[in-house]
Symmetry: D2
Subunit: 325 residues, 4 copies
Amino acid sequence: MGRSHIDRLTNRTQGAEVVAVADMVDALVEKGAAIAGPNCKKYKSEADLINDPAVDAVFIVTPGFAHKEALLLAIKAGKRIFCEKPLCTTAEDCLEVIDAEVKSGKHLIQLGFMRRYDKGYNEVKAALDSGEYGSPLLLHCTHRNPEVPDSYTTAMAVHDTAIHEIDVTHWLVNDDFVSAQVIMPKVTKYAHAELADPQLMILQTKSGIVVEDEVFVNCKFGYDINCHVVCEDGVIEMPQPLYPTYRKNAQITQTIDTDCFVRFHDAYDDEVQNWVNDAAEGIIGGPNAWDGYLAAITADALVRAQTSGKVETIKPAQEKPAFYD
Amino acid sequence: MGRSHIDRLTNRTQGAEVVAVADMVDALVEKGAAIAGPNCKKYKSEADLINDPAVDAVFIVTPGFAHKEALLLAIKAGKRIFCEKPLCTTAEDCLEVIDAEVKSGKHLIQLGFMRRYDKGYNEVKAALDSGEYGSPLLLHCTHRNPEVPDSYTTAMAVHDTAIHEIDVTHWLVNDDFVSAQVIMPKVTKYAHAELADPQLMILQTKSGIVVEDEVFVNCKFGYDINCHVVCEDGVIEMPQPLYPTYRKNAQITQTIDTDCFVRFHDAYDDEVQNWVNDAAEGIIGGPNAWDGYLAAITADALVRAQTSGKVETIKPAQEKPAFYD
Amino acid sequence: MGRSHIDRLTNRTQGAEVVAVADMVDALVEKGAAIAGPNCKKYKSEADLINDPAVDAVFIVTPGFAHKEALLLAIKAGKRIFCEKPLCTTAEDCLEVIDAEVKSGKHLIQLGFMRRYDKGYNEVKAALDSGEYGSPLLLHCTHRNPEVPDSYTTAMAVHDTAIHEIDVTHWLVNDDFVSAQVIMPKVTKYAHAELADPQLMILQTKSGIVVEDEVFVNCKFGYDINCHVVCEDGVIEMPQPLYPTYRKNAQITQTIDTDCFVRFHDAYDDEVQNWVNDAAEGIIGGPNAWDGYLAAITADALVRAQTSGKVETIKPAQEKPAFYD
Amino acid sequence: MGRSHIDRLTNRTQGAEVVAVADMVDALVEKGAAIAGPNCKKYKSEADLINDPAVDAVFIVTPGFAHKEALLLAIKAGKRIFCEKPLCTTAEDCLEVIDAEVKSGKHLIQLGFMRRYDKGYNEVKAALDSGEYGSPLLLHCTHRNPEVPDSYTTAMAVHDTAIHEIDVTHWLVNDDFVSAQVIMPKVTKYAHAELADPQLMILQTKSGIVVEDEVFVNCKFGYDINCHVVCEDGVIEMPQPLYPTYRKNAQITQTIDTDCFVRFHDAYDDEVQNWVNDAAEGIIGGPNAWDGYLAAITADALVRAQTSGKVETIKPAQEKPAFYD
């Protein structure tokens, strides 16, 4: 993921240059810097990189548990930050980061929820915002993966998978989630012993909008992302990606993606390009730290619901700071 | 509905003849008999019609509360019966009718769940039964109506609307429901004060298959029936009805039905034709009285769930009689 | 085909009874009569069948060269006739039959162009007749078959295949063809030595409407009938038949028919039922003898065009008799 | 178009910088340079711009009749060239430019046929090149525009409209056209007096592949580009652009583009980015000058066919120089 972002920033982004790479593992620093080019500096310590005056902005692509420290360092240094999800691994850490950003007085952090930059979701958002379909009432989502390794656990269906729908549907309907439930259907024969698959996750917002998300990570057939928004005045269905239609062997067929990086290729590029463009205006146009906190507490509630079988409440520990309005 | 069946039996069914019509209201007898032709007898009493030796089989198209009496009379007379849904209005009455049919030793009753004869559902069933898609795990259904009158209440979303998905999904997956839940999303502005609309109903079977049904009876845009079956080895999506595609006004458009009798026109004809054809072999090929009982207790659980907000248990009061195997 | 019609008339048509079957081959008479039931008379001579007073109407399902004689006998006997295509094998014979029918003063002949009864074509026709799409200008049709035997020749691509589009598009646009051309693309490797396949046939009407028909009879993948009508105010595309959508193996798939009798199953039933129903009013509601003549001269022009490579003129040898207005 | 390219090169292309702008009209120079930024030089004479040592490559976005002179100047100066279509307005001029490029010994010219960079066409090309569908035999294309001004003439349906299918289908099937025909259907009521609209253009290649192109420039409903490739082993249909599906007003609807710059937005960007990237390797990866010549003689034949009503021959005045292999 880190090297993918270095490649993107170097070769497919206007107005950005990767001037330094840091990693505790020397070999990875070398690999990353090789993509960026001969002038790229190499660091072992992320602190040194963050505090290098030649660095205007930082990309945090470390494991989630390491985010907090890097975020606090970068905020202290006043550097703009692109942080891959999650913001932090606990709700408390998220709030600590939020507190630091608010006190810094500058909008610095954007989170890597790339779906907000996907063309399909944006068309759905535009239709919703047009008012032509009235208020959204109910969203049917699917997040299907061909398969997952044995290390993938039931809780990861929330943290690694549904987390995308958590953020993007929150953004689509512009309302906060207040409760979470998880319904466990019959388990597919392809799931290993420790994994409940598929799962039907159900979230509800303050105004009552229900978002359901079928998470099915051993669906075998493809990477299949769907989003149908049932509104008062019509239903909006996000389009599938663009592939030819083939007639062969008594079938009419279209390809379906099997790889999330193919499916959201353009969204990944666009989130980074937009983040670079927004730097000129000093704004964070994408998902911010507060969005990261909301995603964290929503995910926590879903994980509780996976084992309790009950409707779990979602409640932020504090009011949203005016800073994020 | 009665006159519609008389027209169907008279003009679009092979091997059937409407020889008598009964109704407490004389004018309705006249109207019905006029469709059937000059030789059609006219009765005020359903008992007289049922016991007329010229009558081989009876159609019960009275209000639900009146079904039990007519069913028991027809069973006693040994006449084959086509009974519009519901079998009876209480689970107890259903069991009384079942007991009478079992004791009669003859398979007499078919219920008017016409969707089992719809081409689309049958293609889904054939795909499931082929084994090519593995076991079904999760079904996403929608039952959307353009609008309902003010007399339509929250409970009717179960009894008059979801009842169709209750029977047809039970038939599709060939497994009995054991629990029911209803989730209430934000209510559409088009619902009157006494109606929760839309509703998300969730049923689970013995083996764990989850069936969810979005019931939305003021969706405004059309009569929109969908059924997606998520299986271990693929997803099956029931087709929409057959309409041309139009290009006009910067849009590519297909018509969607607005009337259930148009949507299921052929299914209504086919259920009756099949019921007539099955008479020759003395079998009931469609939904039988036990199916009617299961639909009744499932509906009861959903209605309880509408107000309790909890997962309600579905449990038959007795084992399925071997007679219905 | 004969037995298929006997089955249809006996088992799926209201108001008809097959009272007699004739064929020069005794074994075929027996087979046919067996479907119709024990009361069905058996004839060796078609004349005897036609003149049997118990026979109200006749079905002509003999080879094309034998149609003329049977048609003239049936007209003479004043019997209603359902005649499989073609009317006759030469334009002159068609005119002789037309002359006889006109002189009889009764509308007797309906031709077996079943597509006029297909739901999809009828929806296209309804859209055209609504005026909402303005005048049709250009029609793109395909008539694709999985494969044909070695006995199938280039000319049969007109007489056995395109003949259906000739009639149905003439009916759709309600205008007569005045010229024909055939363009020969690269030949598929699956065509035998004597067959040009595919062919692109182009017809033009009096008012200038162009109908093109891709005939591809070794397309391998299915029986694929398409019809797109380009109008002044929009484009109308006939729907494909109704099959589920499957997600499996990185593909989203729909079935396509491979058999014309499956594709047009309902159209075959409906044309016969309508012909029976029309008997009560003494009308011919479907394609009549004049339509058969127009199809014959259009086909003749296409066959000439196959070898000339030029635009061939289509001109009836006489004005349309007022009888057929 | 010029300013659109300046914006693209400046803001959406990696590795390019607009260092100078030339136009005979001072105001246009100012407007263009303003997009490029304060360091952009301003020229009245294209020769001065071309010969500026700071200029590595030139974009020719002048009217077609002015292309030849600019092309020859740039070739003389050894500068890489991106030239909007057409190469030149006569076949002879095209050959003169080709001769100059060949003599220069360097691959310098790329033509602005952006469809070769469209994702949909590239997926069709990939499917064809995979061999899975066998040899292409017949292509059905449409090029529909909502409307054209009164200044648009019948010949422009070739030069401004079909020219895109001429190049892209030639590229798709990798074969040269040898004949052209134009069939004129009934004219739409929306065409002005001097314009035949729609037109059905038919091209055939050396190996016999037929390409037909429905050009309909007052179709009213949208900018509708279709390409169906009929192959020996299946049919490939290029996808429509990606828009949500809406259910509203008894219809299921998708948006169709109305603007070619929206439809091919990404293709325009990608052709320029690829042209810039190819500079590093000194190659022309896109349509070259010989492609431009072939498009010119194909267009000439179609224009002749529009008035002759006959099949017109297409024959290059010379063999393809080995330089372009």
